[in-house]
Amino acid sequence: MRASHTRWTVKFLAVIKYEILWNIRKKKFLGMLVVAFALATLSLAGDHIVSALGGPPVEPKPDFVVSSSVGLGGFGFFLFAIATAMNTISAEFESGTIVPLLAKPVSRTTVFFGKLFAAFLTLLATYCFLTVYMAIGGFVVYGPQNNLHLVPLSLLGALFSTLIWISIVLLLGTLSRSSLIAALGALGIWFGTTIIGTIVATLAGQGWILTYIPGTGNSGYANGGLLPSGPTGISVPTGTGVSTGTDSIGPNLINFILHPSWEVTYYKINLGGTTPGQVGWEPLYSEPFSNVVLTSITVALIYFIFFVGISLYVFRRAQVTE
């Protein structure tokens, strides 16, 4: 008879292998990989396309690679999270494969974390490829690049940003046991926080709320100020745009290392003014850039732990009626 003290790591690695093979052999995941490379290529070729359409000529961009976030933006992170995690738990219930899996001598906690870690490894491998692709592409398209030693931070940030969305997709999938509901629910949350939330919060002057929910976060400007612009003389914010959300952890980490003394100022759009001085942007408040970085990381961690914790709780108690 086999010993009952089989090492936990052996079982954990078995779950990881099971899940990674699932991920890489799914056509939809391969499709998402193609989309990710397409997005990254678009990011690389953007200036050339604009130039070809009559825009300004392409100029060297020595900071392109370090600021490119592995070629994906917030929506790219979200899409990749969906592709990686929408099947993680829910598809096992949908297909019925959960039955023989959970009947094996492996604890549900091991199954859960094995699957989560496999999602992380899949992401890590993909983002590493994308990072190398962007680094080589950036060099070819925009010339020699600065601060390449900070690129791993970009990779780390991209992973972290995607993991927040993964935890949301995972939670919805575990609760509903439906991949479709997980994907559509996550899309609804993304749309709500990123599009609707941004419009409403900005118009209401309550953009700070966005800092505390997953997504792009609040928008501010560093290293600039309000300057009159155009023939109307309406003042507009200048400087480097900064997003405070969990989607921007990578760029913020890099900018913090390069510009630790930045002060970020937030504005609201004043639609009710009647004079040129009142119409336009109105400063609300400022904060040190370190606050922005720390807050986004803390918020991301809290959400990740919270969502993963609830998913684990639900999964461990799930009764398999399928």
């Binding site: 086999r2 009952s4 494969t97 023989p100 094996k104 461990r316 009764q319 398999v320």
Partner: protein
């Protein structure tokens, strides 16, 4: 002999529906124990509780001497479970699935290398092991389901409708497999709709309906519990008075009647007395053409029990 499975007052409800109702079940070690019941009787629910997939609302479950707790994988190390029409991950190859499940069961590389080809060969998938499960037919997936249940040298194998979806040859092979593993000291707990399959392979049977065990024991014990006489139906070339008289003289005969060319002999015993009845008919000058025993087949017992249950309710 100890119990491989023992449940006491096992109860499971889905909302207002009681799927398993205070079920007391005892499966002796080293037996092939059939678990019979009509659709919705609570068989699969009971099996899923035993496999750790469902949590009982009440009752105590002991498997291989260990009390079953929620999400305690230790007990499952010695249980092989084949679900009804097993859904196996289609993205994996047969060998990959067994290899991964083998790792989960703590098998070493050498053990996996030796056992996996053997198991695949045993279930008739020796040449398809390196194909994706998604390309397998239902019958082949069923066979792979059987292989994964036997993977970890279990002491108890729980099979939920193992013959479903198999062709006649496959069904015979599955029965032979069950007999084979039983000879190696493995307890087999078999849920099946195929009464003749249960009758052929099982040493013990539990009949369940509406979540309640109606009877449990060897087939003979269960038959004895079901009231109603055993009747021998003998087709005789010519039924004469002397044939009837000779049969009536047998000490275990209650009543003899004629139905055309058939002699219906009602017995007070459940022992096999066909040879004595045959001898009596011959002694009376008749020639026995065929002889059947009504009331001793599992089908008869099963139907009798369900009928009784219905009568009891009405």
């Amino acid at each position: 002999m100890g119990a491989a499975i023992e449940t006491l007052g096992l109860t499971k409800r889905y909302g207002s529906l009681t799927a398993v109702d205070k079920l007391d079940l005892r499966v002796e070690e080293n037996t092939i124990h059939g678990f019979l019941g009509p659709n919705g009787a609570g068989k699969t629910t009971t099996i899923k509780i035993l496999a750790g997939l469902l949590k009982p609302d009440r009752g105590k479950v002991t498997v291989l001497g260990q009390e079953l707790g929620w999400d305690k994988p230790g007990v499952r190390l010695r249980i092989g479970y084949m679900p009804e029409l097993p859904k196996l991950p289609k993205h994996l190859k047969g060998t990959e699935l067994l290899d991964i499940y083998g790792r989960m069961c703590g098998m070493t590389k050498e053990e996996r290398k030796k056992q996996i080809p053997e198991l695949l060969g045993m279930v008739g998938l020796g040449e398809r092991g390196n194909d994706l499960i998604g390309t397998y037919s239902k019958g082949m997936q069923q066979r792979l389901g059987m292989a994964q249940a036997l993977l970890n040298e279990p002491k108890l194998v729980i099979l939920d409708e193992p013959s479903l979806g198999l062709d006649p040859v496959g069904m015979v092979e599955v029965r032979e497999m069950m007999k084979g593993i039983s000879k190696e000291g493995v307890t087999v707990f078999l849920s099946s709709h195929l009464l003749h399959e249960v009758q052929e392979v099982c040493t013990h049977v539990t009949i369940i309906n509406k979540g309640v065990a109606l009877a449990s024991g060897t087939l003979k014990e269960i038959s004895a519990k079901v009231s109603g006489p055993t009747i021998i139906e003998a087709e005789v070339d010519k039924i004469s008075r002397s044939v009837v008289e000779k049969v009536k003289e047998l000490p275990f005969v209650i009543h003899v009647s004629e139905d055309g060319k058939k002699l219906l002999v009602e017995l007070k015993t459940r022992d096999d007395v066909r040879s004595q009845v045959s001898q009596a008919i011959t002694a009376g000058g008749g020639i026995v053409i065929s002889m059947n025993v009504k009331g001793e087949s599992l089908e008869d017992v099963f139907m009798d029990l369900l009928d009784k249950r219905k009568e009891g309710k009405s």
